[in-house]
């Protein structure tokens, strides 16, 4: 790997964002381990890229708004809040909630099911945000359409900044969906990405 390849392909940025394919990542690591120039760039860009990722995820999934909601509520006058509630009750209005993926409750092994469509194929603003429950095990169903069949799939869950929090393997059945029980991850609230063997990425929110 040469410096011109690294520059041309934004390797440093994508390494820090955790978005490199495993083979490319290994090649880049072989390079930077002995390259003071690249290590300096990595050290320099690490904080800004981590902060950018955090901001982008918060912006995309409106995470900040959900977290500040109780604070905002405190700032309102009690009368205004009550009037709002009365209006909602009177006219049957409900505040708009972000669209979410349905969580089924009747999987074969009794885990709640979270179905994830391919992120890059449909991750635009307004698309459904799959939600899992914090601290609880769940069954991931990953959309395999468009991928070559495989006997074994490596699945990992990473934070918005690429931090690995869980990984495991699952056997393919040749069908459209790959079922992956996630029992030991202990995911806290936040935004995550589910990566399928470096070929597909799905968005996942845990609340």
């Amino acid at each position: 790997m040469t410096h011109s390849q690294i520059e041309r392909n934004d390797i440093v940025d994508w390494y820090l964002a955790g978005k490199l394919q495993p083979q490319v990542q290994a090649e880049f690591e072989d390079h930077f381990l002995a390259c003071p120039h690249c290590v300096e760039r990595l050290e320099q860009d690490r904080r800004p890229v981590a902060a950018i990722l955090e901001a982008c995820v918060a912006e995309r999934y409106q995470l900040e708004d959900r977290e500040v909601w109780p604070v905002a509520l405190q700032a309102w006058s009690l009368g205004a809040a009550l009037a709002g509630v009365a209006l909602l009750v009177t006219f049957g209005l409900r505040p708009a909630a972000p669209p979410r993926a349905r969580i089924e409750r009747s999987s074969p092994d009794r885990l709640p099911v979270v179905e994830l469509a391919a992120y890059r194929a449909g991750g635009g603003a307004g698309s459904k945000i799959p939600v899992a429950v914090a601290g609880k095990p769940f069954l991931l169903k990953l959309d395999l359409r468009g991928l070559s069949p495989s006997e074994i799939y490596q699945v990992s869950i990473v934070t918005e900044s690429g931090e690995l929090v869980w990984s495991g393997t699952a056997a393919g059945t040749g069908g459209q969906w790959l079922e992956v029980p996630v029992r030991g991850a202990r995911l806290g609230p936040g935004a995550f990405f589910v990566r399928l063997a470096g070929v597909r990425e799905y968005a996942l929110v845990v609340e």
């Binding site: 003071p36 290590v39 950018i52 901001a55 929090v165 495991g168």
Partner: protein, 209 residues
């Protein structure tokens, strides 16, 4: 290229250094340390999500030297790949130990980061950090913001972004780098205004958030 171990000069270097290490001398070890110390330190900090990697750096070099003396390095010219393999083993041991500490079954997970659940105070700090980061993002010009979202979050390539936003590759790189620089400046500025944020940012860098 500096540090490129695939070039003949570097191969020649390691062909001289490896026998030194095999003979038990310290010069070879010193060269090994001088070349790889900074990269090994960053690798460990990046993957372990902590700045506290001193012990692991030491353990890694010890493991590399021992592995060389065991005859595991067949091609001296591929020293960087060899060091990375040792690093991967070190990380695997670290994660296995973390998994054991958390009482997780290997049936459930094959690998897990030693990431503890956040307590309420840490949650509050995380929320504040997120609000702050989002505020910075919103302060950027719309095109710059769009480039950052598409590039870092959605993983779009430069080619895709240029096509979809109608900008040249030069403009893309200029805008991305300028936005990144601006983001870095704003982060530093916020740290100056509110020293308490320094801790948040240190934790952010350590945890990768």
């Amino acid at each position: 290229m500096s540090g490129d171990l695939e070039n003949p000069e570097s191969t020649a270097l390691w062909e001289r250094v490896v026998p030194e290490i095999l003979s038990g001398g310290t010069t070879g070890q010193e060269i090994l340390y001088a070349v790889f110390e900074r990269g090994v330190r960053f690798y460990l900090a990046h993957h372990m999500r902590t700045e506290d990697v001193e012990d692991k750096v030491h353990d890694t070099f010890l493991a590399v030297v021992n592995a060389i003396r065991d005859g595991q390095l067949r091609e001296p010219g591929r020293m960087a790949g060899f060091v990375r393999t040792i690093l991967e083993r070190q990380l695997a041991g670290y994660f296995t130990e973390a998994q054991r500490r958390q009482g997780l079954s290997s049936e459930d997970v094959s690998q897990i980061q030693p990431r503890e659940r956040l307590n309420p105070e840490q949650e509050a700090m995380r929320a504040e950090r997120r609000r702050f980061a989002r505020k910075i993002l919103r302060g950027l010009p719309e095109v710059d913001r769009e480039i950052l979202m598409r590039f870092y979050l959605e993983g779009q390539t430069a080619e895709q972004i240029c096509f979809q936003l109608g900008v040249s590759e030069t403009q893309f790189r200029l805008r991305k780098n300028r936005a990144k620089q601006r983001f870095g400046e704003l982060v530093r500025e916020a740290v100056r205004k509110k020293p308490g944020r320094q801790l948040l940012l240190r934790k952010s860098a350590a945890s990768g958030h």
